[in-house]
Point group: C2
Chain length 200, copies 2
DNA sequence: CCCTTTTTGGAGCGGCCGCATCAGAACATT
DNA sequence: AATGTTCTGATGCGGCCGCTCCAAAAAGGG
């Protein structure tokens, strides 16, 4: 009968921000209290536990990632340019706002496969990204942008590169180092491109 | 005047094993006490702090890594085969004993760049591996195994792949997934090889 | 064998953690 | 305005953390 004084979605975004910056474990309920301007009882009343808060925040985060990074790869005309564009966009995600990498991948590293829910979620996430990349590579091959061989292996190479650049960001690598990692990947993508005879 | 009842090096290896499996933060001094069979006072008397214990253990670990993975790349005849061999050896490191990845990279992810000493150490580590890979690639190019272009970019691609496969291992990826990641990288390495005319 | 020096185990320190409890404030309803 | 319900803030709980302290044991050197 009494409405909440706060907006749940906004609080979730703020909580995610903290988890993202500090890491999940290192973020205490007191930190959340201070940053979100809510007492712990309000938090626990609304979300139940620190874990549940993370889960709810991650759902929103993944939706954002999906819209920004994965969906463009799944569009009907997404080919090699989309794959390259993915790594450009990933560069933005990884370097903006204090270089904290991708939250899901940070979490995978932090948790170390200890929490089943996290393990399942991160595996699903990797799979989704990999599938999207492979899908775009297949289209690129069908269209003749790249050779039709090694599409699977190339998708595996790329998902590894995604994990690598993220963890470098998380580990405090400089922007220059992150850009080198991304450039290395994009250079390889460019070299996959089949050179069509000039003027054809 | 009274000798230690334990062997320091052995204790360091055991401590590293625990830090590796559980993560540094998640390993408590009580865990160490139980696993190493030493009281906390002995540990603190011998090493000073949990951080210092980690540092000492890491020094030994890095020496092992260096001998097993990095040194072969630095040998005079190390070319593209050595680079490929590096990823084979990395596969062993990453999948053996419960798939816990590489300790230094796990630590980089766990710490998130928060501790200066860790940040410096992990950066130095990445740099060392990258330099060794680039060095071997240069030799491979000079020898004509691969094209002479993009050596830098290729080294960056590979160091990203190293980080990626490690963090996947740390995050609880299956052996099959880890092997796919490694195979994707090795496939790309193989494709760099310049095909010499048959029988030449 | 005694004395000195170092190591050892056990108990305990202050501090922080996630979370629960509960009286009272705040609001929609009547 | 009275009512009834939900939300809020303060306080505190048991538990674990890294680390310290100290008496007693262990092993040199003389």
């Amino acid at each position: 009968m009494r409405p909440r004084k706060f907006d749940e979605d906004h609080v979730l975004d703020q909580a995610l921000e903290l988890f993202w910056k500090r890491g999940f474990q290192a973020t205490t309920t007191r930190h959340l209290e201070a940053e979100l301007g809510l007492s712990q009882s309000s938090l626990y009343n609304a979300f139940g536990s620190k874990q549940a808060l993370l889960t709810a925040a991650l759902d929103r985060y993944e939706a954002r990632i999906d819209a920004d990074l994965v969906r463009p790869l799944a569009e009907a005309d997404a080919g090699l340019d989309a794959v390259d564009g993915f790594f450009v966009a990933l560069g933005h995600w990884v370097t903006n706002g204090g270089r904290r990498g991708c939250m899901v991948i940070n979490l995978m590293a932090e948790d170390g496969g200890a929490t089943p829910e996290i393990r399942v979620r991160t595996r699903r996430y990797r799979r989704r990204v990999r599938t999207a990349l492979r899908c775009a590579l297949r289209r690129a091959a069908a269209r003749g942008d790249i050779g039709a061989v090694d599409v699977e292996a190339r998708a595996d190479l790329l998902i590894g590169a995604v994990l690598g650049v993220n963890i470098a960001a998380r580990g405090g690598a400089s922007v220059a180092e992150l850009e080198r990692l991304l450039a290395g990947t994009r250079q390889q993508i460019a070299r996959w491109r089949v050179l069509t005879p000039a003027g054809s």
